[in-house]
Amino acid sequence: MSGVRVLVGTKKGAFVLTADGQRKDWTVNGPFFEGWEMYHVKGSPVDPNRIFASQSTGWFGQIVQRSDDGGATWAPVGNQFLYDGVPGTHQWYDGTPHPWEFARVWHLEPSLSDPDTILAGVEDAALFRSTDGGDSWAELSGLRNSESGSSWQPGAGGMCLHTIIVSPNDPERIHIAISSAGVFRTDDGGTTWAPKNKGLHSEGIPDGDAEVGHCVHRIALHPSRPDTLFMQKHWDVMRSDNAGDSWTEISGNLPTDFGFTIDVHAHEPETVYVVPITSDSVHYPPEGKLRVYRSTTGGNEWEPLTKGLPQANCYVDVLRDAMAVDSLDSCGVYFGTTGGQVYASSDAGDSWEPIVRDLPSVLSVEVQTLA
């Protein structure tokens, strides 16, 4: 019998929400790792029982946990994220050189083909890889040592590498995104990297069309169209049809094009979801109405999805890694809020119901579709 497992990372622990294919009756397990910030929890596409979790606090640093039984039990794996060689410096807020300092793992991306291989995106921005199930980590330092690396500068949220997309048809091609630096792509498995930000325009940087320095919030793609990328930037929703070589704006009729998260329907590669947020200074939905916007045309034309979502007095945020889709016949869409709600739609966004309402502030949501 088919089912889904929703992996929720919050500011005070992780939760595992499960349901059968109807997605009506949910079992809530957790909190796991009580009191710790769980930036991301994600399962292996190869072995769904294998799940990785990023656990951290500002006090006690970084732990990585792994489950091999679908989230029932967990064990710590390696947490040594040491920058390759002499780390050097990037720009600090005041423009002075600042040593690279590891802060935390923002995003874990298990391999599409090997259950022992996983990528980790960290703050200060760098990409690490493990090929032994998370026991040890090595930096793919070609990214940080690329031409622009020393000029990267943190934004208010820290200089984090938050998005990792391995091409579904070419494991050597990886897109990553860094807050306040932008999108970078490798075509040789992580040895060399190039910025892929042409067409982005950002008013918050001195040269709005600069090659790097853009505050990209998240990118997403559909597995059947590996060259088509969708992006929620700080401001602007964008798409690329040439694997990031150039971008065009698709914000269209959105009420605001600020936001954090973006995702693509599991079966319709031109159906895209965003959650508009008022502005960079007002991190809640416009008019206090929580609305997911869906475009079935690959952008520009957007419709609000409101059924089951609060349409008054709602002042929560939806963060960059807090939306996901399942791949059941009727695509399920899920997102979590900073108010602790996790909403689910079993009809591609037409209607929504909360799975839970009162979790700690939600940092990430991932979904596993179970056979």
Binding site: E34, G35, T57, W59, F60, G61, P76, N79
Partner: protein
């Protein structure tokens, strides 16, 4: 036998909320106590000391005998009362309010 008390988050990590009793080889210092602690509970590697620098993490403090030993050299001998087990070596997470 050295007695060590961990902060709540680290007790959660090792799934044990009790006081820890450690055998420490050689001179009893912050470094040797932490080495013994990490050897017994590898999950604590990197949580008290930064893995790159081995320095005490900024929001961690070491208390014993009603003294803050955080700024002592990691190789300085710990008080005799800690060595004898009469007093506890406390690893403390800095308080944060708001």
């Amino acid at each position: 036998m050295i007695r060590v008390v961990l902060p709540a988050h680290l007790k959660t990590l090792i799934n044990d909320r009790r006081e820890i009793k450690l055998e420490v080889q050689g001179e009893v210092t912050q470094r040797s106590v932490l080495d013994a602690l990490e050897a017994r509970f590898p999950v604590l590697l990197g949580t008290v000391r930064d893995p790159a620098t081995q320095k005490r993490r900024s929001f961690v403090r070491f208390f014993a005998c009603e003294e803050d030993l955080s700024h002592e050299s990691p190789d300085a001998p710990l008080p005799e009362q800690v060595v004898s087990g009469a007093e506890v070596f406390y690893i403390v997470g800095a308080m944060a309010g708001g």
